[in-house]
Symmetry: C2
Subunit: 201 residues, 2 copies
Amino acid sequence: MSNKPAFKRAEPDERRQSVIEACARVLAHAGASGASVRTIALEAGVSPGLVGHYFGSVDALVAATYGQTGARVDAALEEALSAAGPDPRAKLEAFVTASFLPPIADPELLATWVAFWSLVRARSDIAAQHDTQYANFRAQLETLLAACGLPDAALHRAAIAISALVDGLWLELCLSPGCFSAAEASAIARAQIEALISTNR
Amino acid sequence: MSNKPAFKRAEPDERRQSVIEACARVLAHAGASGASVRTIALEAGVSPGLVGHYFGSVDALVAATYGQTGARVDAALEEALSAAGPDPRAKLEAFVTASFLPPIADPELLATWVAFWSLVRARSDIAAQHDTQYANFRAQLETLLAACGLPDAALHRAAIAISALVDGLWLELCLSPGCFSAAEASAIARAQIEALISTNR
DNA sequence: TTGCTTGTTGGACGATCGTATAACAAGTGA
DNA sequence: TCACTTGTTATACGATCGTCCAACAAGCAA
């Protein structure tokens, strides 16, 4: 008589990864207030104690989840950028509209991101991650805008405008999915880009 | 020897109001996860039991706070609208840029709003309030845009674009206050309006 | 002053929270 | 086959959670 094993060992890295992904799913589904050790552990299919073993505390796990989620978004943006070809305008539009296509447009990812926003005020480590994340996003936008011929004096403001528009469209796409489509969001963003570039020419 | 009273009675309506305002402050400072009955009661200067007496549950209190916060924003927008004078374009710009001026630009209010966003997925009552709130906001925008001469076919998309931009600027103004100013946000929004109207003329 | 209404308090209750830790077992090398 | 390492589980602990309710007292009417 051979019982099946009570649990399966995993490589530390991939176990960490699976717990992080479970944390992201819980944040998306239950919000920041529902992300307890036990809920996350249940979602990941492990015992609650394992979370402490790998991350030390729930706060550290949430911070790690933010980092991993941000890295995943960055990778998707970079992928869209390299798939766009050499034309500067095409690169800029691909970079911006990638936020409305998979995998970034995933409602779960958006909801996870909102949960992070809700933690920025209360958690200084999350605030620091947010600042670097958005500074990086805007810096990439400025580079792409400069390549499109935008004068240096207009870069800062244009990057803020685009980043705000993308955030707002992303947010509404998540909170009220039936109101407008991803294609409409892309069209709106492209129109904004066109307006920004043509008024500075 | 006359001891001071142990507590002060209040009119039910104004007591409800003060508890709601305390809830908003806690949501802004501690996020959705920190909004416990005891924390809110401490902030309001009352006993924890009073929250249950007036609102029945914490969830109901949060929903009431959302409703009151939304009403306050609506009132501020209406105020900005009536102070703008008769010109349609001036009314539209006043309506949009009011989000970057007091009392809407208050970081506490913004943080409270983010806490509500984080609850939309987990709480269907909050989601319903969000939908009506934003449908109303966009409807007002469409009316103002139509008065500026925008053709009917462009109203829907233009309202989405403006509402998304305002949300995004509002959000960034709250999460990274040092990155750009309210005046810059207003300028960006006015530029967006100018672009939307001139391309449809 | 006295009695009454009811806003208000403060603690009890079970559930759940985050964290720490001892016991267990899966997989590996000798 | 048999230790041995260590990933994993299960439980315990105090703190805090939301909710409930009996007792208290502030303010008004008589």
